[in-house]
Symmetry: C2
Subunit: 340 residues, 2 copies
DNA sequence: CTGAAAGCGCTTACAG
DNA sequence: CTGAAAGCGCTTACAG
């Protein structure tokens, strides 16, 4: 290892150049009222910092203070536009408060979720905001006992507890119920659902089933399972449905990406949307209103949810006292466009 | 600060429980052939780790080893689908090699780019892969002198040097030239360009202008400047063009998001695509082939680019010797669909 | 095979 | 107002 003076200067290097002690350099850097540094001393130090291009070493600072000023943001799929918007909201709020955001992409996989949880125990962040498809409440315990607060985005109401674990949710059962009921009210008789079992899929499935059950006329559930939650999955799912010979008059897709894929399959089969098959999605991602026909869907305010989640986290990190977990419900809205 | 034994156990806690020294715990954890720990000792230690739920402290490890096993990934806009796909490629390659990826979102702003560059000097990562709209070569020097390698995604060929700075580029001038030439070859007489000045916009603008100049017939450039590089910007840009009274026979948009916005504006004006106005985009994001009409565009293999960028970085981090910067060109492809 | 010790670069009581 | 010193939790020569 070479020891050029220009290479990664430390506070000691700055101190030597400024002719003060390393302690003084640190004091200037953290200019709290712990000490009152006279302007001349301060200037000497600042000049030396400038000359050497000194930048504090984050590992040393974190080790010493036990504060990272970083937040982890865990999402299942960065290529699903829903999440980048959510992340954006988190980042906006976090940055305004001096926190940086570290994004982890789990691909919705149980093993990756577990790995991320482990990594975070290593003390890389002060708190974690996340969407988990598999992790259970107890999987968060190691973080919580380490005083790393968690804000979780959920798909239905869960009980709060005394841990520093807040949750923010949209009632996906109710939302899926609303979407399905809308199709029923529009006179559709065969309403298919394209979805899987991971993450929000289960709650949306429930909502769909409940809506069919509570209809005045009898409905037969028609569910097409898929395993990839994007356009590709939607396309394949819709193809499978059409292969059965019968054509449903409406399709409710587990998310907008699935809906977009399903629409492609419908068009490819020479059918019209919504005349032959109506389509409803879930999420209201950016492109939902831009495709043709524009997509009827459930809007969740991703950006707002992200902001709110970050605000919950930051409040917890800034307050001294401990307080019970909070549960916040966010609204959804059925956006009716051309596809249904 | 409390001192419960269950709270954030350290190697010393593990050592005490296992009845060995803290050094031995560390040795077991890093099981290199530095030392040969007999199975019984190893087991005692591993059991203690299990019992206490010990996880190493990353700050301490980083401070000591000067290795973070993290890569920074800097992108201008996480909500532009181009980038998540790029990030995905980076993450895949990085994770396979034991690196985690920290994503920074600059919003294409000069100040945020500068801030990120500063943050990275703090030693949070071993290397940086990024897309910068404003930062100049010299802005990377502080990283390079600190031995933090950089891989930069660029829009045209730049010279390599002796710094640990690799670049990977797609010739955006040539690509824009190809897109514009295609429109010319299709017989379009008035070809408008919707774009701005940041990032890749400048190179694409050049390609457009060069193509018009090299055409056999004379063409008048028709450029609509916008400042937001998404659907909204494209919509506004197209509206501005249509307000001029004349309707161009084709529009080349600076990226797919702009193209999608422009298509909406064209439809809103009651015009048909491509009969009245043809549209070409740039990037080939996921939805390009899913919208109606599907979008003719320039494909860049985002995923592949990300993988390649990460591979360049990792090779540099793993090799002992220093070697000159490399410049890699990646191909583009004109994808002809329905919109033009 | 195992442990004592130095030291990574900081912050923060504590003296003076 | 300023500095010497302890210590955050690790890794890694070095002894034995």
């Amino acid at each position: 290892m070479q020891k050029k003076s220009s290479y990664k200067p430390t506070q000691s290097d700055v101190a030597a150049l400024a002719g003060v002690s390393q302690t003084t350099v640190s004091l200037v850097l953290n200019d709290e009222d712990i000490a009152s540094i006279p302007p001349e001393t301060r200037k000497k130090v600042l000049d030396a910092i400038e000359t050497l291009g000194y930048v504090p070493n984050s590992a040393a600072r974190i080790l010493r203070t036990n504060r990272t000023f970083a937040l982890a943001c865990i999402i299942p799929d960065i290529t699903n536009p829903f999440y980048p918007t959510f992340v954006n909201g988190i980042q906006d709020e976090a940055e305004q408060n001096g926190y940086e955001v570290i994004i982890y992409n789990t691909h919705g996989l149980a093993e990756k979720e577990a790995k991320v949880l482990k990594t975070i125990q290593e003390g890389r962040v002060d708190g974690m905001i996340g969407v988990f498809f598999h992790a259970k409440a107890q999987d968060f315990l190691p973080l919580l006992t380490r005083q790393i607060p968690v804000v979780r985005l959920e798909v239905r109401q869960h009980q709060s507890g005394s841990w520093p674990l807040d949750s923010i949710f949209i009632d996906n059962v109710k939302a899926a119920h609303a979407a399905t009921s809308y199709l029923i009210s529009e006179g559709h008789k065969q309403i298919a659902l394209i979805t899987g079992w991971d993450g929000p899929a289960r709650a949306r499935r429930e909502g769909y089933l409940q809506a069919l059950e509570s209809a005045t006329e009898p409905y037969t559930p028609w569910i097409q399972d898929i395993s990839i939650f994007n356009e590709e999955g939607g396309y394949a799912g819709m193809q499978a449905i059409l292969k059965e010979g019968q054509v449903p008059s409406a399709v409710f897709a587990g998310n907008d990406l699935l809906a977009i894929g399903a629409m492609q399959a419908i068009k490819a089969a020479g059918l019209r949307i919504p005349q032959d098959v109506a389509v409803v999605g879930f999420d209201d991602i950016q492109v939902a209103r831009l495709i043709s026909p524009s997509l009827t869907t459930i809007r969740q305010a991703q950006d707002e949810i992200g902001k709110r989640a970050a605000a919950l986290m930051i409040e917890r990190l800034q307050r001294e006292d401990h307080f019970d977990g909070r549960v916040i419900e966010m609204p959804f809205e059925l956006i009716i466009r051309e596809s249904a």
